[in-house]
């Protein structure tokens, strides 16, 4: 973005009156940013506990976590894209369209309520779905890096077009007769806990480690911080961005798969409206919209905090007519708080 370069002279937070704190402190502050939601989560648990005795139970907390799983994969993808200095709004449509397209290619044309093409074997549904996700990411990535259209507006267009594609193929109906393999992950349990929890946990672990300690992961921060500098330092920025877009969309497709298992069918509205939550979670989790800052751990705490807020609100019995408002106000408050804990002035 144009003004980003201009501001590079005072990249820092030109809040007059700030200066680099002495050694050590600074690291601590940077860390603080990633952990700033931990006390908030603690507070939410406490409020929940006060509000209802049924809140602080293993069962409810597992449920809350499982409800996070699908969204968290999108947040993970979006956080990577944001750290690399771009955006992707179309993830919310990918959640729905990837499973629908995969099912359409696999389900036979006759016999069910939903007439697919049946051109591919049933076992291929899951890989197909992920592949479609990757393909969508490839398109977005190519447009962002080669044609160089602003990712925000392009992916906004993709959001509409992909949702339209899903509507067109499914006729707007939820698809119930999906191959069992598509349902497996979101449905089954491993070691007494939902498999989706294990899967997301593992993916986040890999993500956190990669972005924290591996060369390719670190390069996202360099690209988001100053793409031109990253390029002169020999980072293949376009290639990395392409891969990040593809990964994020693939994760969104995986989120779609978990959703299908979790709720039993490919819902016609699967993912619709999620992008608001995705951005809110990433930002209150400390990921900067200007790129170059944030961590996947922070993003994870963002998702969990948002889901806990909703859960606590349910237990607190906010009148139905007002709960969207309360939800919005709490997000706004979280933004203000995270503005000050991160100390980053945003333009």
């Amino acid at each position: 973005m144009t003004d980003r370069v201009v501001e590079q002279d005072s990249p820092q937070v030109v809040v007059p009156g700030r200066v680099a704190p002495p050694r050590g402190r600074r690291v601590w502050v940077a860390r603080l940013r990633d952990f700033s939601l931990i006390p908030v989560i603690g507070l939410l648990l406490l409020v929940g506990f006060i509000v209802s005795p049924n809140f602080l139970t293993a069962g409810n907390l597992t449920d809350v976590l499982q409800q996070c799983t699908e969204l968290s994969l999108l947040v993970l993808g979006e956080a990577m894209i944001l750290i690399a200095g771009r955006m992707d709004l179309s993830l919310e449509s990918t959640v729905g369209v990837a499973p629908v397209l995969a099912a359409w290619l696999v389900i036979p044309a006759h016999g069910g309520r939903f007439a697919g093409l049946g051109v591919l074997p049933t076992w291929s549904t899951v890989p197909l779905c992920l592949l479609i996700g990757a393909l969508i990411g490839l398109i977005n990535g190519l447009v962002a890096t080669k044609i160089r259209i602003n990712a925000f507006i392009w992916t906004l267009g993709m959001l509409i077009a992909l949702r339209g594609l899903q509507l067109g193929i499914s006729g707007g109906a939820s698809i119930f007769e999906v191959p069992a393999s598509l349902r497996y992950l979101g449905h089954t349990a491993w070691f007494g806990q939902p498999a989706s929890l294990w899967v997301c946990g593992l993916i986040f672990l890999v993500g956190i480690v990669t972005l924290g300690w591996f060369r390719h992961g670190r390069s996202l921060y360099a690209i988001g911080g100053n793409a031109e500098a990253a390029r002169t330092a020999g980072i293949r920025t376009d290639r990395v961005l392409l891969i990040v877009f593809m990964l994020a969309s693939t994760l969104a497709a995986l989120g779609g798969i978990l959703y299908v298992g979790h709720y039993g069918s490919i819902s016609a509205t699967q993912g619709q409206g999620w992008i608001f939550q995705v951005f809110a979670a990433a930002v209150i989790g400390g990921v900067s919209l200007n790129g170059g800052r944030g961590s996947l751990f922070g993003a994870l705490t963002g998702v969990v905090a948002l889901q806990l807020i909703i859960n606590v609100l349910t237990f607190a019995h906010v009148p139905p007519a007002w709960d969207q408002m309360v939800d919005g106000v709490i997000i706004l408050m979280a933004l203000v708080v995270s503005r000050f804990t991160s100390g980053e002035a945003q333009d």
Partner: protein, 328 residues
Amino acid sequence: NRGSSSGSSAASGGTGGGGGKVGIDQPRSDSDFWNSYSKYIESGISSTGIDALPRTNSQNQITQLAANVKSLVAQGAKAIIMAPQDTAAVATTLDELAGKNIPAISVDTRPDNGKVYMVVRADNKAYGQKACKFLGDKLQNKGTIVEFEGDLASINGRDRSEAFGDCMKQNYPGIKVLAEETQWKGDVASAKLQNDLNQGPVNGIYMQAGGVFLAPTIALLQQKNLLVPPTDPKHIFIVSNDGIPQEFAAIKAGQIDATVSQPADLYAKYALFYAKAALAGQKFNPGPTDHQSNIITIPNGLEDQLPAPLVTKDNVDDSSLWGNQVGK
């Protein structure tokens, strides 16, 4: 049955014997219809003395519905009233409830899969058919009808569209139907109607949701000087769907001709009735009921098909219509 379940109340689950809390989820808070429903539920709770948990709102999202049901169960609900807007994706939630022997009553929609104790809904196909018959007869099998469909992603909307379209094709082949998708949005409907009017005369309108389409349609027709009495050949016959007070007022004022009253009061009344019955362990059989409806068997339970009367100038003052009781 899910491997992972909310364990907190599994132990306390069991065959509901006589009493217990009822959990009620409201599907959305952004429509006239559902807000009326919500008011009837409220008054129904106090008049029947049902022990209801504070209601939740799933904002038209199945994920929210699933989460709400879990929290209601965690709070000790022994029966659940819901109105799943996504009839396919609710299956797992229903399975979970079945696993805990918690009866589920589904209002307005019929879940595709998963056990339900009772579906309480009006027959959406009948809505479409009634509107079709009314318009077809008035237009004497000729002319053009604009149909405001709802959202493709809405099963009730699809049911109405299908029934209306099939009926028109079979009984009134001389009538041309322009089906317009509107995503339940008044401005979209208005723009499309405007286009259709520009393409030639329109003789009838079927709108699938009065709450959304009534005002924009009347405003547009007024602007175009097309709001004329039925005696005028330019008159456009309008059938609406919902049965809200504003539609009744419009019928009385001669602005529209009929509406299909979607019984919000009966939805609430019988949802609570069946919840109570479920807690008492009552069983129902298919067949006609004492309240002019019919219980039919569906693959995953029973469905009580409530009557949905067609309201015209002749019966618009009938005080038994729910739309005439609002605000009284």
